[in-house]
């Protein structure tokens, strides 16, 4: 089967090498969760894949075409950031309709699509609210609706629930899982929470300590018992955290 997304030997150096060399492939319709100790470059890797930042080495292929930072790719990429990044002076519906403009749709259709996706994200009835009048969870839902509205080939999510409380977090995890089942988008999801990754991902990728490589790729298809999987991943991440701290003078 053709790969939707291929990450080939991608690395990134700032003042120090952050990502040494990472390679993996994602099939269409997969829900991949990217895990790793803090500071191992998960967000950086996601930004490279989204074309927001150039890689120091290696390439990213989306439908076999290279992603070049700063150049518009022929495939559509939706990104949900840690913050909602909604325009505060536009209503939720206007925010979603705005990103449909470059697709060349007429205004009426843009509005209809925006409403449909806000409804899908559980925001029916709140379309004409300004972001400032809604809760953090609702804003993040709207950001997800915005990313889905363009019908992205790949949806990149960078700790989208990091700013939410535990209860909202659980609700949003279920929502994203449901939306993924309904739309079958290819999703790459960065998180630092092992429980979250095990709860929603079909494939779990564990990165090592900085300079990071791929430590483990796990299919989360229920063949490994959930509790044991969480235990194993916790052990792995503690090993990597120790390694990262051992490398630095204390």
């Amino acid at each position: 089967m053709a790969m939707k997304l291929q990450v080939v030997g991608v690395g990134k150096d700032y003042l120090i090498p952050v990502i040494e060399r990472v390679s993996f492939s994602v099939e269409a319709g997969e829900f991949v969760c990217l895990l790793g100790p803090n500071g191992c470059g998960k967000t950086t890797l996601l930004r490279i894949i989204g074309g927001l930042e150039p890689a120091t080495r290696g390439t990213v292929l989306l439908d076999d075409r290279p992603v070049v930072a700063g150049d518009a790719h022929s495939r559509k990429v939706g990104v949900v950031f840690q913050e909602d990044r909604l325009l505060p002076w536009m209503t939720l519906a206007e925010n979603v309709a705005l990103v449909l403009k470059p697709l060349g749709l007429p205004a009426a259709e843009r509005r209809a699509i925006a409403r449909r996706h806000l409804g899908l994200a559980g925001l029916a009835g709140f379309e004409d609210y300004y972001p400032g009048r809604t809760s953090g969870g609702m804003r993040q839902r709207a950001a997800i609706a915005r990313a889905l509205a363009i019908e992205p080939d790949v949806l990149l999510m960078d700790e989208p629930f990091g700013a939410l409380d535990a209860q909202n977090r659980r609700i949003m995890q279920n929502e994203v899982r449901r939306i993924w089942k309904e739309t079958r988008r290819t999703i790459l999801f960065v998180t630092h929470s092992i429980e979250e990754a095990v709860a929603i991902g079909t494939t779990l990728i564990m990165m090592s300590a900085r300079p990071s490589r791929l430590r483990e790729t796990i299919r989360n298809d229920g063949r490994i018992e959930r509790a044991k999987l969480i235990d194993d991943l916790n052990t792995m991440i503690m090993e990597e955290v120790e390694r990262q701290q051992g490398g630095a003078p204390s």
């Binding site: 989204g50 927001l52 518009a72 990429v77 939706g78 990104v79 950031f81 913050e83 990044r85 325009l87 505060p88 002076w89 536009m90 705005l98 990103v99 403009k101 470059p102 300004y130 400032g132 915005r146 363009i150």
Partner: protein, 236 residues
């Protein structure tokens, strides 16, 4: 407090008082003659022209510098340097230069007003452009919004509050500076009349004009700028 309540509290009584003052003013002007106290209309025309051309011109040029500093970082540093110089230049320098260049015409106070308000309004706009949230612009890049669309949907709305704040300060400055500029050289306007009143020892007229100016300033502040910023902050 409801919207209506607020309007009653702030605007209507003020408007009433303003009407009374303007009526009294017209009466006095008719009683003493236009030479001592020109009619409200002629003063508004004089001040209005200075503000419209001098201050309005400054706002237009300031908008252009804001646009330039958004489009090019190099233009931004040039704008910065020029604004620093303009900000450091005294009102008196412009008054003297404008009298040399424009003589006794109305262009002297117009030019002075323009040169003094330009850096205030422009600095605000440039600062607004610089403070546009990079993360929102990045969001625009992710969704491939065109440069024009990003400007319309992201840059303009985030810069507008800075523009209104700059215009508010600039307008007050324009009103004050234009009067000072009128003391020198010109043969009309509030500044000229105040100076003339002083010469003929009509001290009470000096105070009347001072009050008129304060009132004009406060009324425009409440009626124009406050309602403008309230409209802009609708989404807050």
């Amino acid at each position: 407090m409801s919207e209506r309540d607020l309007a009653t509290r702030l605007h209507l009584p003020t408007l009433g008082v303003t009407a009374v003052i303007v009526a009294g003013w017209s009466l006095l002007s008719w009683r003493y003659g236009a030479y001592v106290l020109p009619s409200p209309l002629s003063v508004v025309r004089g001040v209005g022209e200075i503000l419209l051309v001098g201050f309005g011109g400054a706002v237009v040029i300031a908008l252009l510098t804001g646009l330039a500093s958004f489009l090019s970082p190099r233009a931004r540093s040039v704008v910065h340097d020029f604004l620093a110089v303009l900000n450091a230049t005294s009102v008196f320098v412009w008054i003297v230069i404008s009298i040399i260049w424009f003589g006794l015409s109305n262009w002297a106070p117009i030019f002075t007003t323009f040169m003094i308000t330009l850096p205030v309004v422009a600095s605000n706009i440039v600062e607004g452009v610089e403070n546009v949230d990079r993360r929102l612009l990045e969001m625009g890049d992710v969704y491939r919004l065109s440069g024009r669309e990003k400007f319309r949907a992201i840059v303009i709305p985030s810069t507008l509050p800075y523009l209104v704040a700059g215009m508010k300060v600039g307008f007050g400055l324009a009103l004050k500076v234009s009067v000072v500029a009128e003391i020198f050289g010109v043969t009309s306007g509030i500044g000229y009349i105040m100076n003339y009143s002083r010469e003929i020892l009509a001290t009470q007229m000096v105070f009347v004009w001072a009050l008129v100016m304060i009132l004009v300033m406060m009324v425009t502040d409440k009626l124009v700028f406050d309602s403008l910023s309230r409209r802009l902050a609708r989404w807050r």
